[in-house]
């Protein structure tokens, strides 16, 4: 667990500046497509927004558990002695790449999103059937589908989850990553325009990217 649970949370938190670019608009759409009587009651609205995010984070956790289980077997086969070092180095490189991407210095990193396009093409029609959302169950189910939306940040986190040592650790890693994304994505549902403006600020993106890079390199130095 070299880039540990705190790393997962920070990756979600800083990476959320990337999230609001795409997921923020989606959250905005999902919020404003709710019936007016739901939107006009803050408690009910918060409930629906929570269901969307709960579903999304559950999907991340499930994917993390699968990656963790798969990674544990893979690690044993690659090299029981050096496997962890290889994964630590790979995870650091990925986290640095995410940082560079956030800072705007590595836009080509977004190509990683293509990996998830085939799954999304199958899931997206199911999601369409759930819209417009009128019940908490629909919101939860939509969130579950939303969790599989192609996203470079999620894939990077999943790759790091591969090296967490097992399904439980992998799942926990992605759960914390998902929780890290909550503040920005939830806030965007309510303050879409202001948050999007903030997230597109190159200086803010650069600071978030540099913090993530600093965290990844610190983790590498401590754990090497």
């Amino acid at each position: 667990m070299e880039i540990g649970y705190l790393g997962a949370f920070l990756m979600g938190l800083f990476g959320a500046l990337h999230c609001v670019g795409m997921c923020g608009s989606i959250m905005g759409v999902l919020t404003f497509s709710l019936p007016v009587d739901i939107r006009s009651r803050p408690a009910q609205l918060a409930g629906f927004l929570s269901y969307y995010s709960l579903g999304r984070i559950f999907s991340y956790t499930l994917a993390g558990a699968l990656a963790g289980a798969f990674g544990a077997g893979l690690l044993f086969r690659i090299s029981p002695q050096y496997g962890h070092s290889i994964l630590l180095l790979t995870a650091t490189i990925l986290m640095v790449a995410v940082g560079l991407y956030l800072a705007g210095w590595f836009p080509a990193f977004a190509r990683i999103e293509k990996a998830g396009s085939p799954i999304w093409k199958k899931l997206e029609p199911l999601g369409r059937k759930l819209l417009p959302v009128t019940s908490p169950w629909q919101a939860l189910l939509y969130g579950l589908i939303w969790g599989w939306l192609p996203c470079g940040l999620v894939y990077s986190a999943l790759f790091i989850a591969l090296g967490q040592g097992g399904w439980l650790q992998g799942g926990l890693f992605m759960l914390l990553f998902g929780i890290g994304t909550l503040p920005a994505v939830m806030a965007t549902g309510i303050f879409a325009e202001q948050i999007l403006r903030f997230a597109r600020n190159p200086r803010m993106r650069m600071i978030a990217g540099l913090l993530l890079i600093a965290f990844a390199l610190t983790g590498l130095i401590i754990n090497w």
């Binding site: 670019g21 905005g28 759409v29 999902l30 999103e113 997206e124």
Partner: protein
């Protein structure tokens, strides 16, 4: 859709695909959307894409360019008029909103709409009701509104040319359409694809681009975005069909982009170099708040050279 409709939605860059995915989700809902982005990025086609992916796709998609609406006729064009409402109103006109009934109304360049019409549009957005010119009756329309702008609406609100309440009503969910230069890898994908389609239209053999020419095109900033790219492909096809296009064949502004470090262009009437030099010295001093070493650095001069020029022109 216009003849270039199929071109703008081409693109495999992650930035563009992410936007399409988000718009596909938004399409299913009935939420008012605003597309922001530079001119020529394909906002109208994306709005049409949202309409075709929505549940309203069986009803009309009506697009209006607010900048092209004549001042005196804008209200009647949008909300309609009744016979005799004004000189020349010889028949009833249902207006664009009524024409879009059940479907989607797309207001392009919404920032150019007059304040008077903005107030009426806001009322329609809030209640779904409007009043045709010359009519005493309120009408109701079930229309989804999509808008687009390349202007900074917030600035327009600040300078009083755009209503703040309409701004907040429209800007609920802004979608930013990336400029072509922000779309990783799309230039090299779009050039051959657009050229191929144009060659079919013109029945001309496809030209090829040399590596140096393609590298030059990839570096270019494309201020006119897809529209500019399409026009270039068309021009190159007509001039060089069936042949290879080298970097030397490209338009001057594309060829010289790297050597051109600033946008200053010598006017035909000429300039007074000494006056320009004095102006630059003054501006550097203003920017550095009087710090002469800093001002010298801004102009790429040594402090000594800078002081010499200040003395020469008797500037402080």
């Amino acid at each position: 859709m216009n003849k270039s409709s199929n071109y703008e939605l081409l693109g495999k860059s992650p930035e563009f695909e992410a936007l399409l995915r988000s718009l596909d989700i938004a399409a299913v809902t009935d939420v008012t959307l605003i597309l922001t982005g530079e001119s020529g990025t394909g906002k109208e086609l994306l709005a049409h894409h949202v309409h075709t992916r929505s549940r309203r796709n069986g009803a009309p998609f009506v697009a209006i360019n607010c900048a092209a609406l004549p001042e005196g006729l804008a209200e009647s064009e949008l909300f309609g008029h009744v016979k005799g409402a004004f000189t020349g109103a010889v028949t009833d006109n249902p207006g664009r909103i009524s024409q879009a009934e059940g479907g989607t109304l797309f207001l392009d360049e919404i920032g150019e709409m007059s304040l008077d019409i903005q107030a009426k549009l806001l009322r329609f957005l809030e209640s779904g009701e409007f009043q045709p010119v010359g009519s005493l009756k309120q009408r109701h329309a079930d229309v989804r509104l999509l808008a687009a702008t390349n202007a900074d609406l917030r600035k327009k609100v600040e300078d009083g040319s755009f209503r703040e309440d309409l701004y907040y009503r429209l800007n609920i969910i802004p979608f930013h359409v990336p400029a072509l230069r922000e779309r990783t890898g799309d230039v090299e994908l779009l050039i051959p694809e657009i050229t191929k389609r144009l060659s079919e239209t013109y029945s001309l053999p496809v030209p090829s681009y040399s590596k140096a020419a393609m590298d030059c095109l990839k570096r270019y900033a494309w201020p006119g975005n897809i529209r500019e790219l399409r026009n270039l492909c068309e021009r190159m096809l007509i001039l060089f069909n069936g042949r290879e296009i080298t970097d030397g064949n490209l338009p001057r502004e594309i060829r010289h982009q790297q050597t051109k470090r600033w946008t200053f262009a010598l006017p035909d009437s000429g300039i007074r170099l000494d006056e320009l030099e004095q102006e630059l010295l003054q501006q550097a001093l203003e920017k550095s708040q009087g710090n002469q070493s800093k001002a010298a650095r801004i102009l790429g001069l040594s402090r000594y050279a800078f002081m010499y020029r200040l003395k020469k022109y008797q500037l402080q």
